[in-house]
């Protein structure tokens, strides 16, 4: 398989995931418990109290989508984006584990997120390595 294609899939994988998460968060921010996506993504619990903070998170997630699409335009030169994306992913994983610890989410959900993020992180590290090798050759 073409190395550049693997790298570009990495960017689009992240961008699509982020875009879907952003949409889900916007619904949660404005509709609270009425959101059709409650129970999915980051908004595991609906509620008016955190709508304000949810807006902040949604803006960040949405902006990151654009960032990944921008990186995809020059996939090799902008390979640093792979490592930069891993920072929030790592932080979100810690948060998810703490949420399970405080009994806010079920074990199955925590496990699901963990598996998903481990796959994502491994794929991103591979993409960064491939992009690095490609830039050196």
């Amino acid at each position: 398989m073409n190395k550049k294609l693997i790298i570009r899939i990495g960017y689009w994988y992240g961008a699509l995931g982020d875009a879907l998460l952003g949409i889900e968060m916007f619904f949660s921010a404005f509709m609270g418990t009425q959101s059709p996506f409650t129970g999915l993504g980051l908004s595991i619990l609906g509620g008016i109290q955190y709508q304000y903070a949810m807006c902040l998170a949604a803006s960040l997630v949405f902006a990151w989508t654009f960032l990944l699409i921008w990186a995809d335009r020059k996939p090799i030169e902008r390979r640093d984006m792979f490592l930069l994306t891993l920072i929030p992913v790592f932080g979100l994983q810690i948060s998810t584990m703490l949420a399970f610890n405080f009994e806010l989410i079920a074990f199955e959900m925590m496990l699901g997120y963990t598996i998903q993020r481990v796959i994502f992180a491994v794929y991103y590290i591979i993409c960064f390595y491939l992009a690095l090798k490609e830039s050196q050759s």
């Binding site: 619990l45 807006c55 997630v61």
Partner: protein, 150 residues
């Protein structure tokens, strides 16, 4: 040359201002998670749910801070980060805050929103100006390079 240096200084200032404000926001959220109090956000409630969300936001805010610091290493080449910070992020933040305020959300008061609105507006304008200047510098650099080649 001197003017070019001043422009570069302004662009760097834009990146650093946003990065510092972002880091302060992360610190404020961290205070909220650890001690249930905030300086800037003035969150009225402290529940496990709001704490959970604050924990989710912190890595995103820290990630963006690092992104800005990464961009400032090559301020002209990575000028798109200024636009991404200004338009999707700050503009969206302002609009969403306003919508919540209009919806009468308990967590967003006029006082808090006004301060937040002013800070975000100033920052957004600065970032946009920074982007325009960076774009001009890029064009000047390209012309110089073309001139060298010819």
């Amino acid at each position: 040359m001197e003017s070019k240096q001043k422009r570069m200084l302004f662009i760097r200032f834009c990146y650093w201002l946003a990065a510092i404000l972002d880091a302060l926001l992360a610190g404020d959220l961290l205070l909220y998670v650890l001690f249930g109090t905030t300086i800037y956000l003035q969150y009225p409630t402290l529940t496990p749910i709001t704490q959970f969300l604050a924990r989710q936001v912190i890595p995103l805010v820290i990630g963006w801070t690092i992104l800005l610091i990464w961009a400032v290493q090559k301020p002209v080449e990575r000028r798109i980060i200024l636009i991404f910070t200004a338009l999707p992020l700050l503009l969206l933040g302002i609009l969403l805050d306003l919508v919540l305020l209009l919806l009468g959300n308990k967590s967003s008061s006029l006082g808090t929103n006004l301060i937040s609105f002013i800070i975000q507006m100033i920052l957004m304008i600065l970032m946009l100006i920074g982007f325009i200047i960076a774009n001009q510098l890029k064009k000047i650099n390209s012309k110089w390079n073309d001139g060298d080649l010819q």
